[in-house]
Each structure stands twice: as structure tokens, then as C-alpha cells.
């Protein structure tokens, strides 16, 4: 950490003032660029701000955010509930992993967006389609993190646990789970990042609300680029807040 000293001296400055300063400079540059170039296809910061304001007044803003969050958390929850137990099973049972892992590794690199046509046919125009895509997208990193975590529990932890007379079940609860928790949390954070990215793309089809829908609808219904950029910014800011939240949980668990 090259800036360790200044960090200690000015923690607030480094953490908040510097990033805010960067944002201010970018907004100023953006504003000036739009003004002097006279472009019609990129909105000024003020236009974007007023677009967000209008959305807020029509109370669309909160509904879209709530819809997006509901979908992302639903899909993510499904991925956790399915992914962690499967990952544990595969990490614990080497022959099962040999049988199933190639399939997982083959499905994993397929972009979740490639499943879109199938999702629409299977689930129609409903919340289920984006939730399915999000669950799918976050499922693989969670399975892989849990599997690798369990597989890499240092053998001497297991040996010590057995030596003290733990049953397999007790070994799971008292040794394996605490030993893999830090790795799983990292996997969960990665998976959430992916889920959030996929959500926006998923909402461009199959649904008529949410932040992804906002962007595609603003373009289709009258080329409202102020709303497009507003949607992008909202996605970025909410993504940042959620990631910060998960990092907090991560720090709290690893003390």
C-alpha cells in the first residue's frame, strides 16, 4: 500500500473527497463537451438530472428500482439455494465431481444472454424470464466457488476434526463450513456482480418495468437519450451501493 501513510492522516479525504472530486471534474468536462459541440445525440448532465427528476415525480423511478431489485434478489436467492449445496456435494465427493464437472465447465462460458430466446419461450412475458436468467448467471460462479472451497479445505483440518471424534455431519458444520466461508463469500460477491449486469440485459426483453426496460423503452419511444443515460447512471450507482454492502458483509464475516 503505497499511500498507507496519507491514508492514515486523511482517511475521509482519500476515501470520499477524492472520488467526489473526480466525479465533479467529469461532470464539468461532460457538460462543457455537450455545450461546445452542440451534439443532439448525447444529453447534458442537467438534462439527465431533470430526466431522473421527472421519473421521480411520476413515481416510476421507485417502482422500476424496486422491480429490478426484486428480480435480481429472487434470481440470486435461487442461485444460492441451489448452488451452495451442489457445490458442497461436488467438492466433497470427488467421483461425483468428475462426472458432473465437465458439464458445468461447458455450460459456464455460455453467456446467460444466449439463453434469452429459450427463457422467453419457457416463461413468456413475465418476471420469471429475467429471474431465470439471473439465477442461471449467478449459479455457476457460486457452485464453482463452493466446490473449490470444499475441495481445498486443508486436509489437516479434516484430519484433526476426525481425530477429535466428529461424525461426518459434525465435520461439515464445525470444520468444512467455517473453513470455506471466506471463499464462498468472495464467490457470492462475484456472482452478484454478474447478476446485476445480466439483470439489465434481461429486462430489455420480456418485461415492462425495471431499469433495463427504462433504457430500452426510452430509446424505442422517442429516442429519449436523457432517460437512457439516466438509466445507465442509476444502474451504476445502485450496483456500487450493493457491492459496497456485500463487501461490508464480507469484512464482517472474516472479521
Amino acid at each position: 500500500m503505497p499511500h498507507a501513510t496519507s491514508n492514515v492522516e486523511h482517511p475521509t479525504f482519500e476515501k470520499f473527497v477524492l472520488p467526489l472530486l473526480t466525479v465533479a471534474v467529469i461532470i464539468a468536462t461532460w457538460s462543457a463537451a455537450v455545450k461546445f459541440s452542440g451534439t443532439k445525440i448525447f444529453p447534458s448532465p442537467i438534462a439527465v438530472a431533470s430526466a431522473i427528476g421527472t421519473l421521480g415525480e411520476k413515481s416510476l423511478l421507485w417502482r422500476y428500482i424496486a422491480d429490478s431489485l426484486t428480480r435480481v434478489f429472487a434470481g440470486y436467492a435461487i442461485a444460492i439455494v441451489a448452488g451452495i449445496p451442489l457445490g458442497f456435494l461436488l467438492g466433497w465427493n470427488a467421483s461425483l465431481a468428475r462426472a458432473v464437472n465437465p458439464l458445468i465447465q461447458m455450460l459456464r462460458p455460455i453467456s446467460p444472454l444466449a439463453w434469452m430466446p429459450l427463457a422467453v419461450i419457457w416463461f413468456g412475458v413475465s418476471n420469471a424470464a429475467p429471474i431465470f436468467l439471473i439465477a442461471l448467471a449467478s449459479f455457476f460462479p457460486i457452485v464453482v466457488a463452493a466446490m473449490n472451497g470444499v475441495r481445498n479445505v486443508p486436509p489437516m483440518y479434516l484430519q484433526a476434526g476426525r481425530n477429535f471424534g466428529l461424525s461426518t455431519w459434525q465435520l461439515m458444520i464445525r470444520v468444512v463450513i467455517p473453513a470455506v466461508l471466506p471463499r464462498i463469500i468472495v464467490g457470492l460477491r462475484l456472482a452478484f456482480g454478474i447478476a446485476w449486469v445480466v439483470l439489465v440485459a434481461a429486462e430489455m426483453i420480456a418485461v415492462d418495468s425495471g431499469l433495463g426496460y427504462l433504457i430500452i423503452d426510452a430509446r424505442n419511444a422517442g429516442k429519449r437519450y436523457d432517460l437512457v443515460v439516466a438509466g445507465m447512471l442509476l444502474i451504476g450507482v445502485i450496483g456500487l451501493l450493493l457491492d459496497t454492502g456485500i463487501r461490508r458483509v464480507e469484512e464482517w464475516i472474516s472479521e
Binding site: 486443508p154 489437516m156 483440518y157 484430519q159 484433526a160 476426525r162 481425530n163 477429535f164 471424534g165 459434525q170 464445525r174 470444520v175 467455517p178 473453513a179 466461508l181 472479521e255
Partner: protein, 244 residues
């Protein structure tokens, strides 16, 4: 005999690791096993601990054949075996899950005291030095009151000063707790400092070359003639002239 190895042979794949190893260990004895690396001394200890089954031969403890791990005989690793998610207290009390809370706390406090970690009860392993972590592991093993301790190069990862301190600590604890100890090391000096008897093993496949009785009373004078004699005897037995 407390622990009796009878004709133990072990093979991993096509590789013979141990060949016809037979030795008895007396109750309360401190036995060191030394040998060149790869001679199967850790394997021998794992067989006695019930973590591996030999291809031939048996180990009996108190006359009963060893069939698996057992909390009456605890294996101690290098300090990496402590659980990083538990505090010092949590680690030491790990094997005491079937005791009522009060009794467990009493026992934990007793062993915290024995290994000199008072004031660190709530500390996590990452806050401790290597030597302190090793004490936690020894205390965790002793807390379940086993009759045999298996130590597999327990001080191998410590710096040389800490290692010396830990040796005298271990001897103090051994005298206080009166356990049968099987201690594997590749450090000949360490074996002569600690053991009642030293088992010298040959290179793979491991066989017992010689059993050397260390007839020096504790505390041992490391510059005494007898100490140097015995040490050089073992160096010679392993085929190392004692010069660099």
C-alpha cells in the same frame, strides 16, 4: 507395551515406503523417530494414528488393534493445524464438545494456563506468532486428555530460537501430563534433546536401522560428552559425517 508396531509394511502405488517395522513404545515414554526425508516416518505415525492402514502388519495400543482415528490419541501437526476461524479458547475447547459448558470452560482455562497463553484466550490464530499457534495446537490435543500424542515435525516451521524454547516447553508439559509421545523429526539434535529413545530409520523403503537409548537425565547439557557422543552416533548411523 503401550503402542506396539508389528511387522508394518506400507506401499503407495508401486512404491514401498515401509518394510517390516516392529517396535514397542512404553507407557509414558518419549520416542523420537528420525530418518532421511521420504523414509516413511510420517507414514508410520499416520498408521499409528489410524489415518492410514498398512498393507501388512498391525499396530496395537493397549493391546487393541488401531482401526481408525480415536480421541484417546491425538495427532499434532505443524502449527498450521489450528483452526483460523476459532479463537485460542475455541481451538483448545474444540474437542470438548460433549462436556457441559462449565466443565469445558474449566478445562480450557487449565490448558491455556499449562501452555502459558493467559491473556490470549480471545485472540485469533492470525494474531499469534508461530510458537504461540503451536502451543494452541498442543493444548488442543492435551485438553481431551489423550494417553498418546503423535507429533509430526511439530516445530519444523518455527525459527531456531522459538524451536529451542518450544522443545523445553514440550518437555515440561510432557513431564506434567505424563503422556506417551511419538515424535517424528528429521532433526537429529532435536531427537537427542527430547527423547528417551531414538528410532533411526533407513532411506526408503523405511526400516529400523537402530534404536538408540538416550541415557541422559533432563535437563540435558547440550555440550556434555555423552550428548555429543549419542548425537554423532546417530549422525553416523544415518550416514552423515558430522561436518559441513
Amino acid at each position: 507395551m503401550k503402542v506396539q508396531f508389528s511387522d508394518i509394511s506400507m506401499r503407495f502405488g508401486a512404491m514401498d515406503v515401509l518394510q517390516d517395522v516392529s517396535i514397542g513404545v512404553e507407557e509414558g515414554e518419549f520416542l523420537c523417530i528420525v530418518g532421511p526425508s521420504g523414509c516413511g516416518k510420517s507414514t508410520l505415525l499416520n498408521i499409528a494414528g489410524g489415518f492410514l492402514s498398512p498393507v501388512k502388519g498391525t499396530v496395537t495400543i493397549d493391546g487393541d488393534p488401531v482401526t481408525g482415528p480415536d480421541r484417546r490419541r491425538i495427532f499434532v501437526f505443524q502449527e498450521r493445524g489450528v483452526f483460523p476461524w476459532l479463537t485460542v479458547e475455541g481451538n483448545i475447547g474444540f474437542g470438548l464438545f460433549d462436556l457441559p459448558d462449565e466443565e469445558r470452560q474449566r478445562r480450557v482455562a487449565q490448558y491455556v494456563h499449562l501452555v502459558g497463553l493467559e491473556g490470549f484466550e480471545k485472540a485469533y490464530p492470525r494474531e499469534l506468532s508461530g510458537g504461540m499457534k503451536q502451543r494452541v495446537e498442543v493444548a488442543r490435543a492435551l485438553a481431551v486428555n489423550p494417553d498418546v500424542l503423535f507429533l509430526d515435525e511439530p516445530f519444523g516451521a518455527l525459527d531456531s530460537i522459538t524451536r529451542l524454547q518450544m522443545r523445553s516447553e514440550l518437555l515440561r508439559i510432557w513431564r506434567a501430563a505424563r503422556k506417551t509421545v511419538l515424535f517424528v523429526t528429521h532433526d537429529i539434535e532435536e531427537s537427542v534433546q527430547l527423547a528417551d529413545r531414538v528410532v533411526v530409520m533407513s532411506a526408503r523403503p523405511g526400516r529400523i536401522r537402530r534404536v538408540v537409548e538416550i541415557d541422559i537425565a533432563h535437563p540435558r547439557d547440550l555440550s556434555s560428552r555423552r550428548y555429543i557422543e549419542l548425537r554423532d552416533l546417530i549422525f553416523g548411523e544415518i550416514g552423515l559425517a558430522h561436518q559441513v
